[in-house]
């Protein structure tokens, strides 16, 4: 080998090493070298047990729902906590979705114990506040990793998987007890929807408060036995809320609960003590119900990290995990429109 050829060879090897190094950094960053990294893809895939078909064209969870529109009427009290325009006294357009915590878009209503509400409030400054709440008073587990393990355990064919999961995650027992004991109601209007996750509000002077929020029904909840609800048909909740709102607007009070220093702000499975300061910041007025198919909420991702200036995420790890998973679910379902026809066949001219 002549010196010149040797030099060239050495240079080519150097170039190959640099390029391979860059590709390796890229692969590592993409998670290809870390099979144990919890990715949004894995989290979303875990909603579908092995061998089952996901709800194509639909949200991967909370797949069954119905759209609503209305207004959020802020009373101005929230301005003491946050500079977000949504708390300034006034009326702001609201768009939302009542839903059931199920991966089956045609699950009978009386089979799903957890109900939810997705909500988007838009303000004239161009910002939006999106939130997705459920009627449980606290979450099932402490961390996104534990939630992933819960999905794997509940989808597992191993009969001991859930028992092992519960033993490893003692907080899950409290949630299980709540599911068993919480009364069922006959209406979305009778439910209290809770953010569960905590967020940081910043006022105009820069003062910060860590809060959770809830939509508290103004309608008195009436407990109804699950067996009784099952007799009302598979879609009684949609029919009920449609009929109720046709008769007049339905309201919820938006209540913000302020944490004390030391409260478990990072763990949505831990409720805060009952005596925490609460501020009623306004009223959600639901004025119109529309079916999800071709309804205004169908293509909206109620990503809890979409927040106006004056509200931001806290040390609670869930909003980030939810945001990443919701985005994945959104990307999947918008790629599956053929499975969820955009226009009802009977609506064609």
């Amino acid at each position: 080998m002549t010196p010149r050829v040797r030099t060239t060879m050495r240079s080519l090897v150097q170039i190959a090493v640099i390029i391979a190094g860059a590709a390796a950094v890229f692969a590592y960053t993409a998670g290809w070298l870390s099979p144990h990294r919890l990715t949004p893809n894995k989290l979303v895939a875990a909603f579908t047990p092995p061998g089952a078909t996901p709800p194509l064209g639909h949200r991967r969870n909370h797949a069954k729902g119905i759209c609503f529109t209305g207004t959020f009427e802020a009373n101005g009290a929230g301005t003491a906590l946050s500079r977000a325009q949504v708390f300034a006294r006034g009326q702001y357009p609201a768009l939302g979705r009542f839903n059931l915590a199920t991966t089956n878009p045609s699950a009978p209503d009386a089979t799903v114990p957890i109900r939810g509400m997705g909500l988007r409030i838009a303000t004239p400054d161009g910002h939006e506040w999106r939130t997705a709440m459920i009627d449980a008073p606290f979450f099932a587990v402490s961390t996104p990793q534990a939630f992933y393990e819960l999905l794997l355990a509940s989808g597992s064919k191993d009969p001991d998987a859930m028992m092992r999961f519960s033993a490893a995650h003692p907080e899950f027992a409290r949630f299980g007890a709540w599911i068993k004991s919480a009364p069922w109601t006959g209406s979305y209007a009778e439910e209290r929807y809770n953010s569960l996750d905590s967020f940081v509000l910043t006022d105009s002077a820069g003062g910060k408060s860590v809060v959770r929020w809830s939509l508290v029904p103004t309608v008195q909840p009436v407990p109804v036995a699950q067996e009784e609800l099952a007799k009302r048909g598979p879609n009684f909740l949609d029919a009920e809320i449609t009929e109720r709102v046709r008769g007049g607007p339905v309201r919820w009070s938006m209540v913000v609960t302020v944490a004390h220093p030391g409260d478990p702000t990072a763990d949505p499975s831990k409720p805060w003590p009952e005596d925490r300061r609460v501020v009623v910041v306004g009223t959600l007025v639901v004025r119109r119900i529309e079916p999800e198919r071709d309804g205004p909420c169908r293509d909206i991702n109620f990503d809890p990290s979409v927040l106006p200036p004056g509200i931001r995420t806290s040390d609670d790890p869930f909003p980030a995990a939810r945001s990443s998973a919701y985005a994945k679910s959104y990307d999947l379902r918008t790629a599956e429109v053929k499975y969820y026809p955009r226009t009802a066949p009977d609506a064609k001219p």
Partner: protein, 195 residues
């Protein structure tokens, strides 16, 4: 060897290296953010949007500067096939520098996500909400990112080939500092008179 080559102007070199850092960072943030559910996900997405718009602004400036100043011509002894590859790959890189931020912005618009940059600056939607557009643009953004990274690697490999093997002044035309590469590369190389 051909006569000493003209270099790109200082402004062009500044834009090139600034954008090189932004684009590499952007590609790594992109693949990193879609592979994590941890709290840094939100930070990465936020930086990704802002950096994407910064790249769009920079490439507009860069294209105008390029049209004004032009580029040094390639060495006359460069094989025709390599010249063609150089021209095509640069067109492709420019297309991606313009295209990727616009596709990302359009994708967020089609999904009805608000487009808010660091510092709270809001951008208008450039497409009406549409699930089908979102899906199309999402696929384009995702797959073109890998094409972009592959092209960047090809670009770096070619630049190093010019610098270390051909030593024809092509790398020096865009080098941030004059002769920097000869100094950096010389310890591992025989003396130039052995060429």
């Amino acid at each position: 060897m051909s006569a000493p080559r003209q270099r790109f102007s200082a402004l062009q070199r500044l834009l090139h290296w600034l954008m090189a850092v932004c684009i590499l960072g952007m590609l790594l943030i992109g693949v990193g953010m879609v592979s994590t559910v941890r709290p840094k996900y939100l930070t990465l997405v936020s930086v990704h949007k802002s950096l994407g718009i910064a790249i769009l602004v920079l490439v507009v400036i860069r294209a105008v500067v390029r049209l004004c100043y032009g580029a040094p011509s390639l060495p006359v002894d460069l094989p025709q096939s390599m010249k063609r590859a150089a021209v095509l790959s640069h067109y492709a890189l420019y297309a991606l520098m313009f295209g990727m931020p616009l596709i990302g912005w359009a994708m967020l618009s089609a999904a009805a996500y608000p487009v808010v940059l660091l510092g709270g600056l809001q951008l208008p939607a450039i497409l009406p909400p549409s699930a089908s557009f979102h899906s199309l643009l999402w696929d384009a953004h995702y797959y073109l990112a890998f094409v972009f990274f592959a092209l960047v690697l090809l670009h770096v490999a070619a630049a190093l080939f010019h610098a270390l093997v051909r030593r024809d002044g092509v790398f020096e035309a865009m080098a941030p500092v004059r002769h920097s590469v000869r100094v950096a590369a010389s310890p591992g190389h025989p003396k130039p008179d052995l060429r």
